[in-house]
Symmetry: C2
Subunit: 351 residues, 2 copies
């Protein structure tokens, strides 16, 4: 086997409930399909996005033990690293890097979230190829940076040294937290900022060196457990790879990604994706069931097998799944957590 191959590491441990009641802890966003019947789930789309780029035997999915049967069902034959518990992305990347290095000491890791949406696969693959080549040759840590299409306040940003344009690798000056709207508008206008899409590309050996430098406790926990992730995990720091490593590393660069990426962060995101999902209907965006909107518009509806009639109300989110119905306003979609927290106490089986 030739050295320096590409390895796909899909992070699929998320248990977000921002799409409740469609998403639940047993069936989080990455295991769901958004769009017309037969649309693959976000996890399945994540995998097939690398067809022709990463061979099946070089793919692995990191997820929590409780989700791994469902994940395996959607990704038959793909190696699964089942975490004993979710500990954010740093330990997950550490474990995967160890696995890749065992398989190929010069292996290049493509670390990808499992719940994002990317319509233009060709452009995506071209950028990934270029970034992987750069990471292999230069030993940099690449964070893919999404070209911002709007002053989004829900994402983190990468500030780069280049003023604009997809000019290969651009040095990341700093990782920026979610900004307020004024700042986000400034960012987009400046051309120096890209969205941090949480997608990373690097040589396994390079990220492991970075871990040793910035989070040495991970390597110590790993060694103490004799390289057994199940034993090591409980004493590994639960922090993000962004915060634990990337923000501190001097060799962080970015490649600009311009492929219609969206992280589907809440029901509202479906509006941005409506056309590519084929979900635009009279009266709103419908990703499940039918909508009849009278004296009403701008609604988001997901209620498979149901007819939803909305009369005299606009900009609603109406969702029906598994015995639960959610009715809220689009501008409240970020607060679904309030609902989920209440239900978790009263009716845990519904979240």
């Amino acid at each position: 086997m030739s050295r320096g191959g590409l390895f796909l590491v899909v992070m699929a441990g998320g248990s977000g409930t921002r799409f409740w009641p469609k998403s639940t802890s047993k069936k989080p966003k990455q295991l769901l399909s958004f769009g017309t019947t037969g649309t693959p789930t976000l996890l399945q789309q994540t995998l097939s996005r690398f067809d022709g780029l990463v061979p099946a035997e070089n793919r692995m999915i990191v997820t929590t033990g409780s989700l791994s049967p469902a994940v395996a069902g959607q990704a038959p034959g793909v190696r699964i690293l089942a975490e004993p518990q979710g500990r954010n992305t740093a330990p997950c990347v550490y474990w995967a890097a160890r696995e890749v290095q065992m398989l190929d000491p010069d292996g290049i890791m493509l670390v990808m979230p499992s719940d994002h949406y990317i319509p233009d696969i060709e452009k995506f693959q071209a950028t990934v190829r270029a970034a992987a080549g750069w990471a292999a040759q230069n030993g940099d840590l690449v964070a893919l940076g999404v070209k911002p299409s709007r002053p989004e306040t829900g994402y983190g940003y990468l500030r780069t040294i280049a003023a604009s344009g997809p000019v290969g690798a651009r040095k990341v000056e700093t990782f920026v937290e979610k900004p307020d709207l004024a700042r986000a508008e400034e960012y987009v206008k400046s051309g120096r900022y890209l969205w941090n899409g949480g997608m990373f590309i690097w040589r396994a050996s390079v990220i492991l060196e970075a871990f040793d430098r910035f989070m040495p406790e991970l390597g110590k926990a790993w060694s103490a457990a004799g390289g057994d992730a199940q034993k090591a995990y409980p004493s590994m720091t639960a922090t993000s790879i962004d915060y634990g490593v990337m923000e501190k590393a001097a060799n962080a660069v970015t490649f600009e990604l311009d492929c219609g990426w969206d992280d589907l962060g809440s029901w509202i995101a479906l509006e941005n994706m409506a056309d590519v999902l084929g979900a635009r209907r009279e009266g709103g965006v419908v990703t499940g069931g039918e909508l009849l909107a009278i004296q009403s518009g701008g609604n988001i509806v997901d209620a498979p097998g149901r007819l939803v009639a909305i009369l005299g109300l606009s900009n609603l989110v109406v969702v029906e799944h598994g015995g639960a119905i959610l009715v809220t306003r689009k501008d409240k979609a970020q607060d679904i957590k309030l609902v989920v927290d209440k239900i978790r106490q009263a009716r845990p089986e519904l979240v």
Copy 2:
């Protein structure tokens, strides 16, 4: 058999869709139950309201042929007059009067809608007894008049000669159509007006005389068909007993009814009835399923077996039944017809 007995005539032909999607043409309001599990349907409540007053063999239900199996299922053993088609209340009363007169030439008919709600049965029976006694002795046409509890614009009114009080029979001066709010407030203030509850009490022979006088075409159609309702119906005038007879009769009187009556005319009516239905919950009125209301209040919810979460929206009507979900505002509940009309074309099986 002694003559001059009481006969209950329940009118159960309505196919209203004001409670869609809970009510449908196959299961209209009178066949539905509102309230906690095990609550009898409105039709069943209508019948049991006469227990101790009208013996089983003196009860009959007039309904349309298509509904009669469902009606029979809810009222086993009760005689059913199955109309070949709905033709408003005048032909229905005519047929029932003919039936009663055959059974008892001096029989007193208690003509009652099947889809109203009456919590205080004792008071109701007392008023019915008094009115029936009056009708038997004086040969008047009695319309029960409900003491108004609010300036309701959804009901017709009876203007009486008496200024106020339940002083036995009060002459009805005129039948008044649904008023606007200013007029309704005036009516309630005056004390001379009662709601027209559509409940009538009279001797069968007296109403038949009135028919002969004010709607002679009914008797002619009846005779021409040899007393066969199925044959007579198509040529009987489809009009209401109010308009066809009562408004014209000189012997129309009323007895004041003060028993918490409500006609459950729309989802909003459930708010008036919430306490007697035991349906008041945190966040609104719930006649089916569970409600979780956050930053929300004043909702009306009917979704059996479902948890309905409402976030950041108030005064909604949210209903789920048989594969359809309705989301509207309370102040639009009168317009559900707009929804039903649309669905009748596109998805007739849902209405």
